[in-house]
Symmetry: C2
Subunit: 910 residues, 2 copies
C-alpha cells in the first residue's frame, strides 16, 4: 500500500475512458466500478470521478479529516469532468450540477446517504432557468437540495441530536406543509415557482436558526460537505446495524462517486427513456423500450404521461398514434440501437438500460441485466444459443428454475387481472390461474364437475376426505393452513392452482357463503385465482392458455446433458406415475401407501382400512387386513408396471390412524352401521386414538412395531406385486421405506418381518430371487444423529424434509400460520423453511446423516423426498451434499431437473 501522501484517491471516468474498471469494486465500490466499465466500453456516460474506499478508511483513521493530497486530486478530476461535459461547476453561465453517491463493495441499499443537485445556488440558478426554461423545476430542485443537504450534511454527518425528535428534515417538511395550507395546495406539484422560491428562503432562515450557521450557497462548499457526509454515513446507525446483520466488515469503508447531473427536461431536444435489448415479456429479439420527450426519468415510470414506444417495431394497436424515438430522433435512436448491440455483445445477456438525452446528446445512466418472464428467459436462452452468443452451459444457467412454473400452467391474463376486484390474498400454494364457480363441499364439487361445470373448491381447510373434490376442481381456495397444509401439498402434487391461508376470507360452509372485502358470494358465483401470486378475484377473469412452449423439450434435453443428480417423483397412484414419467421422472422417490385409500372411485379400500383401525383384537385386524391386501397390492403392482424397471420407493403407512376415522357424527353413524357396531363404539375408539400432538404420536414405524400385522400386509403386497411382474417377465425395482424411524432397532424389528414375508412369497411364486431395497426415511432428528447405526440396516436413506424441518425447528406446519408470518416480517427467519430447506439447521442434519451413513455403508443411496425437493436452492444444496437424487411432485420435476443441472455447472465452475 502506498504511503498516504502518495496514494491515488481519485479515479476519473468519462466517455470512452476511465481510470478504473469493473474489477475494482473493492476500491471504487460497486457503482464507481460499473460506471468506469461503461465508460471503457465507449458508452456515453455523464463524466465524473470516484473517491476511493481507501480514502474513507484514511478519513476515519485521521479523526475525520480529509487526507492532505485529496483536494488537489479532486480539483483535477473535477476539471476533467467539466471539460468533458462542457460545463463548469459553480459557473454562472454554463453551470455544472453534480451528485455525490455512496458505493460500497457490496450493495447496502438505502443504508448510506446521497446528495443530489450539488452546485445549485443563487449564482447558478438564473443560468439553469434560462437553459431549461422551467423556473419551477429549478426551484423545486433547489428546495430538494436544501432539504437533503441540511439533513444529511449539516445534521446527521455532524452527529447533532435533534431536540424532541424534531430533526431539521421534519421541520422543513412542516414549513412546506404550512405553505401548502396557506396556498390551498393539495399536493407538492401544486406549488408554483414563486411559492417554491419563497419556501427556499424560509428553509434557509430556519437552518440558520437551528444550526447557528447558514446553508452554504457555495458550490465548492456543498461538494466537500457532500463527500464528507457520504463518508460519515458509513458509520451511521442504519449502516452499522445493516453490516452487523449482513456480516460486512466495518473496515471496508465506502467510496464516493461524484458525477455530472444530466437533464432530459431541457426542451424538445431532450428526452429520457428506459429500454430492454430484447422484449422482456416474450423474448422477441427486437429492441424494446419507452421514452418521453422533455421529461425526467421518473416521468416515464410514474405513469402521469403515457410513454411512447421506442421504435416502430414494438408499436401495438394502442400505441400506433404515439411518436417513436426512431422517428423523432433518428440519429440518436441509431446511436442507442448500436449501443444496445454493443452491450449485448459485452454482457452476453439481455440488458435493461436507462438513458437521458440532454440537448440532443445521449447519455447512458445505467445498464444491468434485465429481468424477464419465464417464457422470455427460455426463448432468449435458445435464441442466444442459436445466435452463437452463449454456450449450451450458459443457456442452461439463463432460466431460473422457478420460471419453468410459468411455462407449465395456464395463467390469468395480466391486463384483465389489473382491473379485476380483489377479494383477498393468501399464500400462493399452487401456481397458475384458475377460474370457476365456487362450491363449499367436495361432494358438490364432484356433482357439478360431473355436470360439466368448472368449479373452485372453497374450504375453511381441506382434509383427506376432500381429495375427490379437489381433484375435479379447477382450483382450490382455503381460509386456513400454510404452504405445506394438506390442500397445498395435494394441489402442488397435481400442479393445480391453489391458494391457502387466505385469512381475510370468511368461509361459511354450512351457509354456503363466502364473505370477503365486504362482499358476500354464494355457491355458484364465479371467482378467479392467481395461484402464483396468491390473489383471489371476484368473477371470471380471462385466462391465458400458456400451452407448452415448443422449445421447452429442446431446452430440457440440453439441461439433462449437464445434470448429474437423479430426479424422481412423489407419486401415489399409477396415474400420478404416468404423469411423472411425462415430466421426466427417473423413478418414484415417494409412493405414499395411505393415499390410495382416498379418491379412488370405490369406497371399499377406505371402508376396509377403517374396519381394520376399529378392530379390537389382532384377529379382527388380520381379517380386515387380508381383505385390504388386494387393493394395496394391485395399486403397487400397477405403479411398478408403469415405471417399467425404474425404482419405486414405497413408504409404509405413515399417518396416525385416527386421521382415517371420521369425526363427523353422520359419517360415524354410517361407519358404525356398516361395521355392525354402535356409534358409541366408533366414538370411543376414535377417542382412544385421539392424540394431543398427532405429528409426534403413534404413526409411521411406531404403527409397524405395535401392529406387526399391519406392516406384514404391506410387505406382502409389495413382494407379491413384484413377484407377479417377474413371473410375467417384467422388471421392477421396489424399494421399501420405513417412515418416522428414530432408532436402528426399529429397522431391525421391521426387517425381520419383511425378510420372512419375502421368503414366503418366493416360495409361493417359486422364485429363486426377489430383489428389493430396504431403507429408512430420515425425518426425525435422532435418526440423522444416529445415521451411522441406521445405515447398518438400510440400503438407502430418504430425507423426509417436511417432518425433519418440523422437528428440527419445533414448528408444526399446521400451526405456523400463527407466528411464521411475523417471523418472516421481522426477519427473525430469512425464508419459510417448509419451502426452502433450512441449510443452516436442517441442512446440518442432512449433511451429517449423509456423511455418517456413508461412513458405515460407502455406497448408501441417499435421496430427499420432502416438499423442498422441488425448490431450486434446496436442490442445489442436495447436489453439494452428494445426494443421489431428489424427489418432488410431478409438476416440479422440470424445475428440479434444471436446478440440478445448474448446481452441477456451478460446482464445476468452482
Amino acid at each position: 500500500m502506498a504511503k498516504i501522501e502518495t496514494r491515488k484517491y481519485v479515479y476519473a471516468f468519462g466517455s470512452s475512458k476511465a481510470d478504473g474498471d469493473a474489477s475494482m469494486k473493492n476500491l471504487l465500490g460497486g457503482k464507481g466500478a460499473n460506471l468506469a466499465e461503461m465508460c471503457k466500453l465507449g458508452l456515453p456516460v455523464p463524466a465524473g470521478f470516484t473517491v476511493t474506499t481507501e480514502c474513507c478508511v484514511d478519513f476515519f483513521t485521521n479523526k475525520m479529516k480529509f487526507p492532505g493530497n485529496l483536494k488537489d486530486q479532486v480539483t483535477a478530476a473535477l476539471a476533467g469532468t467539466e471539460k468533458e461535459m462542457g460545463m463548469t461547476f459553480g459557473d454562472p453561465e454554463r453551470p455544472l450540477l453534480i451528485s455525490c453517491r455512496s458505493g460500497a463493495r457490496m450493495s447496502m441499499p438505502g443504508m448510506m446517504e446521497t446528495v443530489l443537485n450539488i452546485g445549485l445556488c443563487p449564482a447558478t440558478i438564473p443560468a439553469l432557468i434560462k437553459r431549461t426554461g422551467n423556473g419551477r423545476f429549478v426551484y423545486d430542485s433547489y428546495r430538494r437540495l436544501i432539504m437533503m443537504y441540511s439533513d444529511v450534511v449539516m445534521e446527521k454527518a455532524e452527529g447533532i441530536e435533534p431536540k424532541e425528535d424534531m430533526g431539521i428534515r421534519k421541520q422543513l417538511d412542516r414549513l412546506m406543509d404550512e405553505m401548502k395550507v396557506r396556498e390551498k395546495c393539495k399536493s407538492d406539484v401544486d406549488l408554483t415557482e414563486a411559492n417554491l422560491r419563497d419556501l427556499c428562503d424560509l428553509f434557509k432562515a430556519r437552518i440558520k436558526a437551528v444550526f447557528g450557521k447558514p446553508f452554504p450557497d457555495s458550490a465548492m462548499e456543498q461538494l466537500w460537505g457532500g463527500i464528507g457526509a457520504v463518508f460519515k454515513s458509513w458509520n451511521g446507525k442504519r449502516a452499522i446495524s445493516y453490516r452487523r446483520i449482513e456480516n460486512i466488515p466495518d473496515i471496508w469503508g465506502t467510496a464516493v462517486t461524484v458525477q455530472a447531473m444530466v437533464f432530459g427536461n431541457m426542451g424538445d431536444t431532450s428526452a429520457t427513456g428506459v429500454a430492454f435489448t430484447r422484449n422482456p415479456a416474450t423474448g422477441d429479439p427486437r429492441f424494446f423500450g419507452e421514452w418521453l420527450v422533455n421529461a425526467q426519468g421518473e416521468d416515464v415510470v410514474a405513469g402521469i404521461r403515457t410513454p411512447h414506444p421506442i421504435n416502430e417495431a414494438m408499436k401495438t394497436e394502442g400505441t400506433q398514434h404515439l411518436e417513436s424515438l426512431e422517428k423523432a430522433m433518428p440519429s440518436t435512436y441509431k446511436q442507442l440501437d448500436a449501443i444496445r448491440t454493443r452491450l449485448e455483445k459485452h454482457y452476453r445477456d439481455m440488458q435493461d438500460l436507462e438513458f437521458t438525452i440532454q440537448e440532443g446528446k445521449l447519455y447512458l445512466l445505467q445498464t444491468r441485466t434485465g429481468k424477464r418472464t419465464g417464457t422470455a428467459a427460455l426463448n432468449m436462452a435458445m435464441d442466444m444459443l442459436e445466435e452463437g452468443m452463449i454456450s449450451p452451459k450458459e443457456a442452461v444457467m439463463r432460466v431460473k428454475p422457478a420460471q419453468l412454473d410459468e411455462l407449465l400452467h395456464p395463467i390469468l391474463d395480466f391486463h384483465a387481472e389489473k382491473t379485476a376486484t380483489l377479494l383477498g390474498k393468501g399464500l400462493p400454494a399452487g401456481p397458475g390461474g384458475a377460474v370457476g364457480q365456487i362450491v363449499f363441499t367436495a361432494e358438490k364439487a364432484v356433482e357439478w364437475a360431473k355436470a360439466g361445470k368448472t368449479v373452485l373448491l372453497v374450504r375453511e381447510e381441506t382434509s383427506p376426505e376432500d381429495v375427490e373434490g379437489m381433484r375435479v376442481a379447477q382450483g382450490i381456495l382455503t381460509a386456513r393452513g400454510g404452504m405445506t397444509s394438506h390442500a397445498a401439498l395435494v394441489a402442488r402434487g397435481w400442479g393445480k392452482c391453489c391458494i391457502v391461508g387466505a385469512g381475510a376470507l370468511h368461509v361459511d360452509a354450512a351457509g354456503r357463503k363466502l364473505k370477503a372485502a365486504g362482499l358476500t358470494l354464494k355457491e355458484g358465483d364465479w371467482a378467479s385465482l392467481n395461484g402464483t401470486r396468491g390473489c383471489v378475484y371476484l368473477g371470471a377473469v380471462k385466462l391465458v392458455d400458456a400451452t407448452e412452449n415448443p422449445r421447452f423439450q429442446q431446452f430440457m434435453a440440453i439441461v439433462d446433458g449437464f445434470r448429474k443428480m437423479g430426479v424422481r417423483a412423489n407419486a401415489d397412484t399409477p396415474e400420478d406415475a404416468r404423469i411423472a414419467r411425462q415430466f421426466g421422472a427417473e423413478g418414484i422417490g415417494l409412493f405414499r401407501t395411505e393415499h390410495m385409500f382416498y379418491g379412488k372411485g370405490s369406497d371399499e379400500p377406505l371402508f376396509l382400512l377403517r374396519k381394520m383401525i376399529l378392530s379390537n383384537t389382532v384377529e379382527e385386524r388380520r381379517k380386515a387386513l387380508s381383505k385390504l391386501f388386494r387393493f394395496v397390492k394391485s395399486d403397487i403392482k400397477a405403479t411398478l408396471a408403469v415405471m417399467d424397471g425404474m425404482p419405486v420407493t414405497i413408504r409404509l403407512l405413515d399417518p396416525p390412524l385416527h386421521e382415517f376415522v371420521p369425526t363427523d357424527p353422520a359419517k360415524q353413524k354410517e361407519l358404525a352401521d356398516s361395521l355392525g357396531i354402535t356409534v358409541k363404539e366408533v366414538r370411543e375408539r376414535a377417542d382412544q386414538l385421539h392424540e394431543t400432538n398427532p405429528m409426534m404420536g403413534h404413526r409411521g414405524v411406531r404403527l409397524g412395531v405395535t401392529y406387526p400385522e399391519v406392516a406384514e400386509m404391506q410387505f406382502r403386497a409389495v413382494f407379491e406385486a413384484a413377484a407377479e411382474l417377474i413371473t410375467q417377465k417384467k422388471t421392477c425395482k421396489p424399494e421399501i421405506m420405513i417412515p418416522v424411524t428414530c432408532d436402528v432397532a426399529e429397522l431391525k424389528n421391521q426387517k425381520v418381518i419383511c425378510e420372512r414375508v419375502r421368503r414366503e412369497v418366493m416360495t409361493k411364486y417359486n422364485l429363486k430371487s426377489l430383489d428389493y431395497l430396504f431403507g429408512s426415511m430420515i425425518e426425525i432428528p435422532r435418526a440423522a444423529l444416529l445415521a451411522d447405526r441406521m445405515a447398518a440396516e438400510s440400503d438407502f436413506f430418504s430425507f423426509g424434509t417436511n417432518d425433519l424441518t418440523q422437528m428440527t425447528f419445533g414448528f408444526s406446519r399446521d400451526d405456523t400460520d400463527k407466528f411464521l408470518h411475523a417471523y418472516l416480517e421481522k426477519k427473525v427467519l430469512a425464508s419459510d423453511p417448509f419451502q426452502t430447506l433450512d441449510i443452516d439447521g436442517v441442512g446440518q442434519l442432512v449433511k451429517m446423516a449423509t456423511e455418517r451413513g456413508r461412513s458405515t455403508k460407502k455406497n448408501l443411496k441417499v435421496g430427499i423426498c420432502g416438499e423442498q425437493g422441488g425448490d431450486a436452492a434446496s436442490v442445489e444444496f442436495c447436489y453439494q451434499t452428494g445426494l443421489n437424487y431428489v424427489s418432488c411432485s410431478a409438476f416440479r420435476i422440470p424445475l428440479a431437473r434444471l436446478a440440478a443441472a445448474q448446481a452441477a455447472l456451478k460446482a464445476a465452475k468452482k
Copy 2:
C-alpha cells in the same frame, strides 16, 4: 499363545487353592474365575475345574472335535476333584455327581446350556439312595438328568430338528403328564419313588426310539457329552441373537465349569441356607440369614417350609420358637460366621451368601455383593466408614442415588402391603406411600382437606386447574398419562406420592365412582398408593413413618465434599424455593412464570391472564398486562428474596396461550360474564388459539416475538423486583431465560426489548447498575445445532431436555402411552428417554451445543433443567459433558447431589 498341543485347557479349584483367580474372566468365564477366587480366599467351595474359553474356540476351529490333549487334562483335574471331595465319579460306593455349566466373559443369563446331576446311572443310584435315605429324591434327580441331557446333549447339540415341533423335551413332558393322569397325581410332587423309577424307564425307551441310540448310562460318557453340549450352546440360536443385540463378539467362546454337586438333604447333619453379612433391610451390622435342615436350596426360597433364623440375634416374636443354626450346629455356625467376617474384609462390602452343609461339612456355593434398601445402604456406608473398612469416597459410592428417595418419603408397610387387595397398577410417578379417602375433583379435595380429612385425588388425568387439589391431597392417582404427564411432573416437583396411567382403573368422575378389579369404590372410600412401585390398594394400608434418618445430613455433607457440579432446583413459587433450599439447592435453575397463575388461593392472576389472552387489540392486551404485572413482580421478588443472592433462572411464559383458556362450557360462561363479552366470543377466540400440535405451536419465544408487550411486562417484573431488593440493600441474581428458541435472531429480538426495559427501570429506581444474565433455553434441535450462534447472544444455556427429547425423537410425551410401552417391551428402546437422558441421541445434541456454545463464548454457563436433571445416569452424563449445574425438582436434589459426587469420583478414577 501356546501351541494347541501344549495349551493349558483345564484350571482346577478346590478348598484354599486354585489354578485361576478373579482376574481371569476372559479365559475362565465369570463363573469359573469367581469360584477360583473363593477357593483362594480359603472358603470351602465344592471342588471342580474349568475348561477354558480358548478350548471352546479351538473346539469350533477344529470342526467340533476336542483338542487331543484335553482328555488327559480333564482326567487329571477330575482326579483332583474326587480326592478333594472324598468321592469318586461313577463309583458304586461313594459316587461323585457333577454339574456342567457355561460361563462367558460377560454374563449371558439363560442363553446357554447347563447339565446337572451328571454321574447318576444305574451303577451309582443304589449308593446314593443309601446315603440320602431318599429314593424318591434320587429318582427325581435321575429323571431330571435324563430330560435335560436328552434335550441339551442328544438333540440340540447334535442340531437335530424335531419333527412337527415335537422335541424330545416335549415328548418326555407328555409321558410324565400321562403318568400323572394314570396315577391320579395333581402335581409332580405327588409322584412316588416307584412312579419316578418307571418314568425313567419310559423315558429311556422313548429316547432310544427317537434317536436310534440309548441314553448313555455311563458317567464318563455323560461328562464328555455335557462339556461338548455346553460348548455347542455358544453357537445356539438364542446365544447368537443375544450376542447380536449386546454386541458380544462371536470369537470369545464360553468356558465350561465342571463342579462337584453337594446336597443339603442328606439327613440331619445336612442343611442349606442363605445369609447376608449384615441386615439388608436395616443395615444392622449383625449376621443375618435363614436356613433349613435336611433341605435343598430351593426349599428355602420356595416357602413350602418356613426357614429358620440363622442365629439368636435375629429372632423375632414370630420366629422365637424356631431353632437357629447357631444353636443346632454351633461349630458350623462359628465357621460360617468367621467366613462372613473374612468375606466382608475381602470384598469390603456386605455379601449375600449361599451355603450348603453336606453331612456336617460346610460348602459355600456363592458369594456376591448383596442388594439392600436405601436405609440399609446409608447405614452400612456410614458404619463401614466408622469401622475404617471403607474410605469416605467409597462410602459415597455405596448409596445408589435412587435409594435416597426411600429415605425422604413415608412408605407403605411392607408386610401390610403384602396382604392388601391390589386394585391395579400404574406408573410410579411420585415415590413413597399415601393413604386417604378418594375424591374425584380438585374442589372436593380442597373442601375435604380443609375439613381435616386426608384425601387421595383420583382423576382421569389432571390439568393445571387441578393444582390446588393436588397440593392438598396425600397422593394423586390418574388413569391416563405417562411419567411426564402433568400429574407426574407436578407431583414429583412436590415429592408427592403419585401413580399415573393406571389404565385398568375406570374413573367415572361424574358418577364419583372408581371401578377396578371388579370392585366399585365411591367418593370417601379409603385407598392406598405405593408410588414407588405403582400399586393401588383397597382400604387404608399401614404407613411407615420413614422420618429423616439422622445420618442423612451427615452423609450428604460427605457427598458434597466430592461434588464439583452445581445442583439447583426447579421451583415456581417462593414456597417451593424455601423447600428447595432445605434440600440443598444452590440456586433455582427453572422458575416457570406460568405456574404462578394457578393454585395461589386468589383467582385474580389467572383471570387477568385470561383477559390478556382474550384481548383483541394491543391496547386491550397492554391494559390487562399492566394489571397482571404486580402479581408477577411480587412472586419473582419473593423468590429472589428467599434465594438470598443465589442465582434464580426465570423462564418467560412458555406454554401455548390456549392452555389457559377454559374448554369447559360452564367455565367459559363464567369467564365471558366476568369479561363482559359473550360466550361465543370466548369460544371463537379459543378456536382461533386452537392448534393441531400445540407442542410445536405458538409458544415460548414465539409469543414474545408476536406479542412483544407480553415479553416486556415480564422483563419489567424481573427488573423491578430486582431493583426493589437492591434498594433494600439485598443481593439477588436474576437470570432471564428465553424458552423454545431456534435461532439467534429470536434472542436479538427479545434482548432489544429487555435492554430497553432495564434502562427504564434503572432510571426509575435511580440505579447505576442492574446486573442480570440473559440466556437461551436449548430445547429445540435447531438451537443445539446452531449453538455457536446462539451463544453470541447468551450468557448461559439451559437444556430443556423434556422438549429436546420430544423433538429429537419426534415423541409427544402426552401421547407416548400408545407405543412407548411396546417399544420398551420389545427392546426397541432400552429406557424411557423422558426419565433417563438418551445419551446416544439427545446427548449428542447436548454435547454438541455445549462445545459449540463455548467455542463462541469460553465461559458460557451451561445447565440442564429438564426432568432428567434428577436422574442419576443423566446427572453423570451432564458432569462428563462439562455442564456447570443440573436443576431438578426439590425432592430430587439429594439424589442429584449424590449422583454428581459419584460422577466426579468415577471420572477421577479414570
